[in-house]
Point group: C2
Chain length 115, copies 2
Amino acid sequence: MARAATTADAFNAVAEPRRRQILDVLSGGERPVNDLVALLGVAQPLVSKHLRVLREVGLVDVRGEGRQRMYCVNSRPLKPIHDWVKSYEQSWSERFDHLDVVLEELKETEDDDDQ
Amino acid sequence: MARAATTADAFNAVAEPRRRQILDVLSGGERPVNDLVALLGVAQPLVSKHLRVLREVGLVDVRGEGRQRMYCVNSRPLKPIHDWVKSYEQSWSERFDHLDVVLEELKETEDDDDQ
DNA sequence: TTGACATATGTCCATATCGGTATATGATTA
DNA sequence: TAATCATATACCGATATGGACATATGTCAA
């Protein structure tokens, strides 16, 4: 087998930075493709391809408006990502970060022993 | 260019389900490689390679213990994912979900008009 | 040292990616 | 109808993947 398709799920679709950018722009409201092309400074066919991936995993919806196609975000497929990542959240919370700092300092103190 | 390397960042590393599984197991505590091999039922070289990817993005730390290598989670690289996804959280919250339901019902009512 | 165990690395294959360029489809206007 | 604008698709290249397999490295015990 090879790497999972980008259209396999939101995890894969969103791993590409450009697609996150697109979602970030669309989170400000519905946009036609050419807006994204201008805002991201990317070739139009590439934008269309990224939009296709996002559509296939349900992260964007389309609506025809004249000769334009208006895209908007549908963030529900992001929920599994949120849910999975959330269970790790406490680990980097302030309390634990502080503990890390303390441990780091301890280690450095040990390292300094041989000076 | 091709797809970004799996070791490019946590987004890419974590897009692979098997690697999330590994992190999920390790979140229960430090484990040697063979534990993961047994628990996931995957070939050992494959586990080692996944662990390498996770290590390269800083999601796991290793510690030598005799002839074993103990792996544990370091979830800090997940924070960017959490932060990015979090900004979309409200969209799927109850309130909005309810709104979706209402709109869905409205649409179905319209569709039923021709009965 | 030899052997056994734990883990890592190397090679191979099939596959699909992102990006670029060219072209097709589709809707609107003259 | 023809020309134009907006978007989608097709094809190509370079690249790296996950998995299977074989083998190297490294640590300990007899």
